[in-house]
Amino acid sequence: MNAAVISFPGSNCDDDLMHAIGTVLGERVTKVAASATTLTGFDLVLVPGGFSYGDYLRSGAIAKFAPIMPALKAFAAAGGYVLGICNGFQILTEAGLLPGALQWNTSLQFICEPEPLVVANAHTAFSNRYRAGQTVTLPIAHGEGNYYADPATLQAIEANGQVVFRYAHNPNGSLNDIAGLTNAAGNVLGMMPHPERAVEQLIFGTDGLGVFESLKEAIEEGAYAAN
């Protein structure tokens, strides 16, 4: 797998993703500045957590204007795998690559804690290494992770099986306990919890590895099929 991690000014989980994919998984990974304009050659693009451009207006609201965004949209439209984590999820919804929006947590407080999640759909490129109904624990660390979509959109999301992770104990007010979901095509995932923070036994356990291993498998199978 050949991954790109987009680094926006204010991103702060880009290095953690580089470490998880490059050092822990031993896969190819490149940091791409948000000022770049192409993403050719990659088979996975990651949009990291952090506070892009300070997140002062709304989370992700400024990042969607970054020079890299047209390339990201084209990459996604062509079926490339895109994973947005935390601020990355917020950016993808702002950019229209995922439905809905992320509002302030109902407590209006930033929350950092281990969060048990239930795998709602194990048949996606991002979750095929998990079992449906399995509980995995990943850290969350966000102030604006309260997922909202209007009723019609929400219904379509559920009908399509787009929800991949749900909170076991909803920490932030998200509708339908949604912690992570894909687009209708299934090649773009946004999630608030941080799988890249849970890839080493010593640090937080390894419950997050499955996300990256799932992608590796999906990409390698895809590459094989394409040959």
């Binding site: 207006l57 709304r58 609201a61 400024i62 204007f65 919804t93 702002e94 809905g100 929006a101 509002q103 302030w104 947590n105 109902t106 407590s107 209006l108 309260n146 909202y148 979509a149 209007d150 007010g173």
Partner: protein, 86 residues
């Protein structure tokens, strides 16, 4: 020179956690006669434009693309020309 005054509010159908917290706090502190709270954002942009129509068009675009998230928010604005002396 034109000045745009822009209001961005949550759509009525969207539950706003901020408004909720403010109203709860007011209630707890004894201001329980406050029956409704709306929390919005307010922006002022000062911009040079050829005419009123051009200014309005630009402001509408900036609101739509940047200042409001149209999934959850609505916006309204006024644009007025500033007296030259200013």
């Amino acid at each position: 020179m034109f000045k745009a005054k822009i209001y961005v509010n949550y759509k009525p159908s969207v539950l706003d956690p901020k408004a909720q917290v403010i109203q709860n706090t007011l209630r707890r502190l004894g201001d329980d006669n406050v029956q409704d709270v709306l929390v919005g954002k307010y922006f002022e942009l000062t911009l040079a434009a050829a005419d009123q129509a051009a200014a309005e068009a630009q402001v509408a675009r900036i609101c739509d693309e940047m200042l409001a998230n149209v999934n959850t928010e609505t916006f309204r604005y006024t644009v007025e020309e500033l007296a030259v002396a200013q």
